[in-house]
């Protein structure tokens, strides 16, 4: 016990005698630990945000659209010539399908909405039908969604998102009030419960929903249509997707060999894309981590060789006084580990600071597990880079070491 304590104390003293040198040696470890803990934090933050974001998208909703959600740049030119998705498809799909419960056309664009003196710009105006309430499982904070007749007649009714409510009606109940879009008045009949930000960045509450007919009266009928489709309860999405593809090919009169001239998008595509992003972050983070830990480890090894050389005489004296090999080994190994560990701790503290800043814009939490892993990694780096120099010290011949000047 006494020996171990004394070795650690001597190791700390040795480090303190060369603070600058030790600090410079630590830089690699600091950067390595910083990148491993930042990467971990980023991934867990993104995971968390992603899950809560796509929750609102509906697990099993399929979207029939002209373009797939994710494509490579030059593919766009091919998809461009596809025929537009027609509003009527929704009803035709419902008529023919056995696995589908709801199908609604929707369209959207960005515009400004006004109430008295208040204006909100860049609001996502959605035109859809009564079925949307069932498809995306919208939660309303107050009021109701529009009904089938209101859908059919294109009544001037509107359901508003949480951001719109707070911006236009800071002090009053919005229900029954009339807001203006492009000079047309819409009566507020419902308020959507707060949904939060998509990936923590884009607000999903900055929207309003109106009947598609009313939307087309404002903006014309030529805007791109997307058809949202929800399978019947108990039917797997993939089965519904198969039937939907078959029906769409029928509607488009495609021959068996023709490729689909439409896209069926689903939440899964986001997951795919997201998995790629995660993988990229992980690969880059691990690469930087590994590289800086290797550089840092080599730095420590180098400094430990110097330290062993500088203290050759000391090692000889200690051996003459009865220090065993293992004790000398431990003394130098603990010096390497302490340098590395301090580097790791500094790296973690820097991460805590950075995460604190990032937290203002983005969900980010440094987990306890990650801190433990970071500390273990820095200890391991210290051991690996210290073992060779420490072993060299332990094997020194005592007489030669004592004579060394």
């Amino acid at each position: 016990m006494g020996v171990i304590f004394e070795s650690v104390v001597m190791a700390i003293k040795a480090i303190l005698q060369n603070k600058t040198r030790a600090f410079l040696t630590m830089l690699g470890i600091i950067i390595g630990i910083l990148s491993v803990s930042l990467m971990g934090t980023a991934i867990s933050g993104i995971d968390q945000v992603f899950e809560s974001s796509i929750e609102g998208m509906g697990q099993d909703v399929l979207y029939v659209q002209k373009y797939p959600w994710f494509m490579v740049n030059d593919e766009w030119w091919e998809y461009r010539n596809r025929p537009e998705i027609k509003e009527e498809y929704a009803e035709q799909i419902l008529e023919r399908a056995s696995s589908i419960a709801f199908a609604t056309p929707s369209s959207s664009r960005s515009d400004e909405v006004k109430y008295k003196k208040n204006t909100v710009e860049g609001v996502e105006i959605n035109g859809t039908t009564w079925q949307e309430a069932y498809i995306s499982a919208l939660k309303l904070e107050s009021g109701r969604f529009f009904s089938e007749p209101e859908s059919r007649y294109g009544s001037r009714v509107i359901v508003i998102g949480y951001d719109i409510k707070t911006a236009l009606f800071p002090n009053e109940d919005p229900l029954g009030k009339e807001i203006t879009i492009r000079g047309n008045k819409f009566r507020v009949i419902g308020v959507i419960a707060q949904q939060g930000k998509f990936l923590g960045l884009m607000s999903m509450d900055n929207i309003v929903i109106v009947p598609l007919k009313a939307f087309q009266m404002l903006y014309g009928r030529r805007r791109g249509i997307s058809i949202s489709v929800k399978p019947k309860d108990g039917i797997p999405v993939e089965q519904a997707k198969e039937e939907l593809t078959f029906i769409m090919r029928g509607l488009r009169k495609l021959k068996p060999r023709d490729e689909n001239d439409f896209a069926i998008n689903q939440q899964e595509a986001f997951r795919q894309q997201f998995a790629n992003i995660r993988f990229a972050i992980r690969a880059v983070g691990l690469g930087i981590t590994a590289l800086s830990l290797i550089v840092g480890g080599i730095g420590i090894m180098n400094i430990m060789f110097v330290s062993v050389r500088e203290r050759t005489k000391e090692i000889g004296i200690r051996k003459a006084l009865g220090a065993k090999k293992s004790i000398i080994l431990f003394q130098f190994l603990s010096e390497a580990v302490i340098i590395s560990l301090i580097g790791g701790i500094i790296g973690i503290l820097l991460t805590v600071g950075l995460v604190g800043v990032v937290q203002r814009f983005f969900v980010a939490n440094l987990s306890f597990g990650l801190v433990v892993i970071s500390l273990l990694v820095s200890i391991l780096t210290g051991v690996l880079s210290g073992i060779i120099p420490a072993n060299q010290a332990a094997r020194l011949n005592p007489i030669e070491a004592i004579r060394y000047e």
């Binding site: 006494g2 003293k13 009865g322 065993k324 007489i399």
Partner: protein, 241 residues
Amino acid sequence: MALLALTNVTKVYQVGAVAVHALRGIDLMVEKNEYVSIMGPSGSGKSTLMNVIGCLDTPTSGTYILDGKTVHDDNIGQNGNGKLSEDELAFIRNQKIGFVFQTFNLLPRITALHNVELPLIYAGIHKKERIEMAKEALRKVNLEDRMHHQPNELSGGQRQRVAIARALVNNPSILLADEPTGNLDSVTSREIMKLMDKLHDEGNTIILVTHETEIAQHAHRIVHLLDGKIDRDETTPKGNS
């Protein structure tokens, strides 16, 4: 039985193709509480002999028994423990040997007390007892008031007294001093030799290497080395009285 017994001990250093015969068959017995000086011209093998006796080095051939323990014996094979491992030698150095060097060899940047504590740390003695023993050893060399000083704050004589306290602190079987006064002026040398005499009177066994006849005369016996062999082994006037 003799405290230490060397029989036909040789030491050969291989330097490239050249074999340097530092010791060429030493037979030496030293009894408990003897006071021995080793003299001889430079290169005659004095330090080599001290290193072998102190278990810092091992003989090339021959037999060495220290305090009843076989340190080296050619006739016993490796498995019969005729040759001790490095850690076993370290243990013997820690328990049975006290070294005093010409250049003091204190660790810099730690206090005199801490220096004296080192052998006790390696012996696994608990802190409280350790500090008491270290203080007691410093008291014996009259340096209790300087125990919190670092070596660079001490004079040469004081440093050597710290080194002697460190050599004594474990109650070794034998005190080995290789030219302990080599780096000191004559006044300080006399002080150190007075201390050595006192330690001998207290029952310690001492072997010291020196070039100076005056210093050697403090001992009761002088062993003269020449070319790696014992040339003469004489008793001093002190030894006769």
